[in-house]
Amino acid sequence: MSDDVTIMIRDMAERVFADHCDRQVLAAAAVGQWPGALWDAVESTGLTLALVSEEGGGAALPIAAALSLVDLAAEYAAPIPLAETMIAAWLLDRAGLPVPAGPLTFASFDGSADTLVAARVPWGRQAGIVALVDGALLLLDPEIADVAPGANVAGEPRDRVTIDDVAVSGVPSPITADDMRAIGAAIRTMQIAGGLKRATDMALQYAQDRVQFGKSLSKFQAIQQNLAVLATHTAVASMAATMARAALATGRLLPDVAIAKARAGEAAGAGAAIAHQVHGAIGFTLEHDLQFLTKRLWSWRDEFGNEAEWNLVYGQRIARAGADALWPAITAGA
């Protein structure tokens, strides 16, 4: 049943992305323009509330099915906070808070008693911010937030948000700051899988279309071997995304999210490099679509923790458990 739901919502979403994520929209978004038409189309499908309970006004879809949209949006490099909105709405709903319309994002705030800061908040300037402050969860009043715009190398907004501590109060949060970071890592893992899949498809297509020395690039053994390795990275990222989705669904985030983000992050860099190698000079230009994907891969692999951070988290767990617990830990997913 869950598979049917997945296919249905993916079809629905894919039509919207295919209609709206053209080169012009992506190029404009990369220099800071909000893709309003795309957002409106996505929101009108109701998919942004897929994880929200029916009482909360949502579709209450199974997590694994709903989050399969995250990969898909990444395949189209959709420049909107779809994953962030789905997660933020889910957090609000689980905490018993109402879910507003419009784009949402989430962030954990840190700092002194006076001033709390969240760095590199995705779409902090456009989205309602579901904030974790001192163990409390709340939807931030935009009036009290000071937003300094920033961006990742793909031009996706990553803003610095500052608030006055005394001004906020929320409900006790069911999740911790560590959980929030792991949830962020999980969605970036899924995005990497989607981005790599599309970059691989593009490289395959290019190699088949492009003729050199009288034959298609794809007929050169060295290129075939490179493409096989690229596909292998994509397969790893895809498996990692599946693991990350399953971890969100069970609610037991570690260790699988740590494993998944680290593996996907490594695949992202290696895969992006091969995709560019296969494309040659054309892939290096602003007018080619490959750069929309590879810049995102280079950003996503570092956001919410790079490979070193998550490898360390997992490595310390298994070191503490001891050598003879290593294999049991792997089979238990613990």
Partner: protein
């Protein structure tokens, strides 16, 4: 479009109960094995151990009960395999019979052949080897020249097989050879396979020592060896198709990425419970690679269970696995500044054993270029 469809395979109670049984069994049977012995991985040969595994019902696990199989799922079989491999159990004696020969006989053998061989394999009493490569074939199996000629008395075999594992301690061989000349448009035609009783006259087994000085490999000469008529396995002329589908199975198991797992365990032991951040992250990285690859490999087992073709997915697992197996060695040696030493302490000896086995990691199941060629074919590039 890339779509390899690796699905996560959830575990179930039957699998986990079985897992615990295997662990308990191994704790008793090989609890005192040293790390360097465990590092031999599936090259460790112990006929008595194999019989005990058979007694427990862990050979021929998926086969029908009428052949003394145990009618369990491919995933339960997977559990047994991965537990054996990660513990460094000596599985070599029964390995080929259980993994390749038995399933082949079950699939294409006559009822009489099934009755004759499968029960013994499932009991861990009959061991098989394979006769595929020849001195001049390399990866090009279709250039094999060993020939079986049909006579009134039976099949007369002449030729030489090489890189045969365990021929000197196996009861039977599945022999791949020519029975007819290739047709002009298909050089893959004209091959057949036979079940060869290794005790027959005209079969000479000469040892090939591997670079660790161990005897696992052989060169096997057939000089007018006479096989009975009923040694033919499956229809005459179907040898190539049999081997190709067998190779796909051979590439899919957990042995394709776990060869150096025992060394990883020794690495964790050598690093202790509070390693440096770098050592911890390196350990986490390797263990994470194992964890993801295991999911992918389980997914391949799931495809087999559903009767899907796992060729490309299995090649991916194998290619990644060979890289990982190599990487474990390189990471381990730099984190623990100990020279590899066959007669040294646990870690040094495990490192040396794994290192000396390492060139085989990218050989077994196909050289790297071949595997990547299979993946490329799956991408419709060739």
């Amino acid at each position: 479009m890339v779509d390899f469809n690796f699905q996560q395979v959830p575990s179930n109670d039957a699998m986990e109960t079985l897992r615990q049984e295997v662990r308990d069994f191994l704790a008793v049977e090989i609890g005192d094995r040293k790390p360097a012995e465990r590092a031999l991985s599936w090259a460790g040969h112990d006929a008595a151990f194999s019989r005990k595994v058979g007694e427990r019902g862990w050979l021929g696990m998926t086969w029908p009960g009428r052949y003394c199989g145990h009618e369990r799922s491919a995933l339960e079989r997977y559990v047994v395999l991965e537990e054996m491999l990660t513990a460094g159990a000596p599985v070599s004696a029964h390995w080929i019979a259980d993994r390749q020969s038995g399933p082949l006989i079950l699939r294409v053998g006559t009822e009489e052949q099934r009755q004759r061989y499968l029960p013994g394999i499932a009991r861990g009493e009959i061991f098989f080897c394979a006769g595929l490569s020849e001195p001049d074939t390399g990866s090009d199996l279709a250039s094999a020249r060993t020939r079986a000629v049909e006579t009134d008395a039976g099949w007369v075999v002449n030729g030489t097989k090489i890189w045969n594992t365990n021929g000197h301690r196996s009861h039977y061989m599945i022999l791949f050879c020519r029975t007819d000349a290739p047709s002009s448009d298909a050089r893959h035609s004209g091959f057949s396979q036979f079940i060869v009783d290794m005790s027959l006259p005209g079969i000479e087994v000469r040892p090939i020592l591997d670079m660790a000085g161990e005897h696992h490999l052989n060169e096997i000469h057939f000089s007018d060896a006479l096989l009975p008529k009923d040694a033919l396995l499956g229809p005459k002329g179907s040898g190539w198709q049999q081997v190709i589908s067998e190779l796909a199975h051979e590439r899919s198991g957990p042995e394709r990425f776990l060869s150096s797992f025992p060394l990883l365990v020794e690495l964790a032991r050598a690093l202790g419970d509070s390693p440096s951040a770098h050592a911890a992250a390196s350990l986490g990285r390797l263990a994470g690679q194992v964890a993801v690859l295991r999911q992918m490999s389980l997914s391949v087992a799931g495809m087999l269970q559903r009767g899907e073709d796992p060729t490309v997915a299995a090649a991916i697992v194998k290619d990644l696995g060979a890289v990982l197996e190599q990487e474990v060695i390189e990471v381990a040696r730099l984190l623990v500044a100990t020279e590899p030493d066959l007669t040294g302490q646990d870690f040094a000896a495990s490192l040396a054993t794994t290192l000396l086995a390492s060139p085989s990691f990218s050989l077994r199941g196909g050289a790297r270029e071949i595997l990547r060629g299979i993946i490329a074919r799956g991408l419709n590039l060739r």
